[in-house]
């Protein structure tokens, strides 16, 4: 249950980036190798933002699939259901994780459309 800690970090990042402007949605990118439960994250977000200017804002989680590149044969492996850190091409274990460890606040949707005229 480290989702509460994560939400506190997301709050800090969002509050700095919004620069006083109201926010509707916070877009996150979460890698498959992270142990984040989206439902728990959403629940904790409600707890963390309650009585703050970000109350009522939504977290939108974009999952990122885990992807490996083999250092021996160069093949790319996308991890599906099994957590097997090995190359699907040559079975080698000398692989680099290129995707799947993301845990990023990607962007914010602001509540108020930007005005073309006036303030």
């Amino acid at each position: 249950m480290h989702e509460l800690s994560l939400c506190q970090s997301i709050y800090g990042i969002t509050d700095r980036a919004r620069d006083g402007r109201p926010v509707v949605t916070i877009h996150l990118r979460v890698g498959a190798l992270r142990q984040v439960v989206p439902e728990t994250l959403t629940y904790c977000w409600g707890v963390v933002t309650d009585t703050t200017p970000l109350a009522g804002s939504m977290l939108d989680v974009e999952p990122v699939r885990a992807e490996l590149i083999c250092r021996s044969c160069g093949a790319t492996t996308v991890l599906a259901d099994r957590f097997l850190i090995a190359c699907a091409g040559c079975d080698g274990a000398d692989v680099e994780v290129v995707h799947g460890e993301e845990l990023v606040v990607a962007s914010l949707d602001l509540a108020e459309p930007s005005s073309a005229v006036g303030s």
Partner: protein, 252 residues
């Protein structure tokens, strides 16, 4: 829920996007404004971890983060380890993380050169892990210049501690043979994050149906590079190999 917005003439109001038609705000750009952030959620923790690492480096201290499920034997392993380090003249500090109680800290108090207790139930919301800012807080109670090594005994948990860099140079986990062969597959992030796995309580093997070779195979599946060490902290069997690994980690 209504949408609050401002018109070109300066008036503001809230409505259900009906009187201009859906998102047909002809006076200004349509759709929500998107602000690109691209900031890692762990940035703050990792910054604190880097500061901890720098504090260790300044004092010439090596730090190990010791993790496991509850009851795997972390404290017993640490008690034996502290005795070994004291015999070698290595000054060891312990950061003891528990949600509640000072039971583990009391067990280690006579063995460690210095000890700092962190109850995560006390001011940290009962957290199930130690993060870098918590370890920074614990470091205030330790005089790093009077230490050679710091052992962090993390909160017993196979999930959350794996995610948080606390500034340690090495990550070690204790996995007891009573936990079964499949734990590495169920908790791959933890097993993947560590430099060594201490397979503890091997004295119980005659009473179990555990296939220890399969357990080791499953650890290798998720972490091909980690060091595997079989031991019983209770009988002392296999501890010498662990001490040799540790001594080398401290020397580097």
């Amino acid at each position: 829920m209504g949408r609050y917005h401002r018109h070109a003439d300066g008036t503001t109001h809230t409505h259900d996007e009906s009187h201009h038609g859906f998102r047909d705000h002809t006076a200004y750009a349509t759709g929500p404004e998107r602000v690109t952030v691209l900031e890692r959620i762990f940035t703050e923790n990792d910054r604190a971890a880097a500061a901890n690492r720098e504090a260790f480096a300044d004092a010439g201290v090596i730090c190990l983060n010791v993790m496991s499920s509850p009851g795997a034997g972390k404290t017993t392993v640490l008690a034996a380890t502290l005795t070994h380090l004291r015999e070698r003249g290595v000054r060891a500090g312990v950061i003891e993380g528990d949600i509640e109680t000072s039971i583990d800290a009391d067990r280690l108090r006579g063995l460690a050169h210095q000890i700092s207790l962190l109850n995560t139930g006390d001011g940290f919301g009962g957290e199930c892990h130690l993060d870098a800012p918590m370890v920074a807080r614990a470091l205030r109670d330790l005089d790093l210049n009077d230490l050679d090594v710091v052992l962090v005994e993390n909160v017993g948990n196979l999930v959350c501690p794996a995610e948080f860099d606390v500034g340690a140079h090495r990550r070690v986990m204790v996995c007891s043979v009573t936990e079964g062969e499949d734990k590495p597959l169920k908790y791959p992030v933890m097993f993947r994050s560590v430099d060594a796995v201490l397979i503890n309580k091997t004295d119980l093997l005659p009473h179990l149906e555990l296939d220890i070779a399969l357990l080791e195979h499953n650890i290798r599946v998720v972490n091909p590079r980690t060091t595997l060490l079989r031991m019983s902290a209770r009988t002392g069997d296999g501890l010498d190999e662990w001490f040799a690994w540790l001594d080398q980690a401290i020397a580097n």
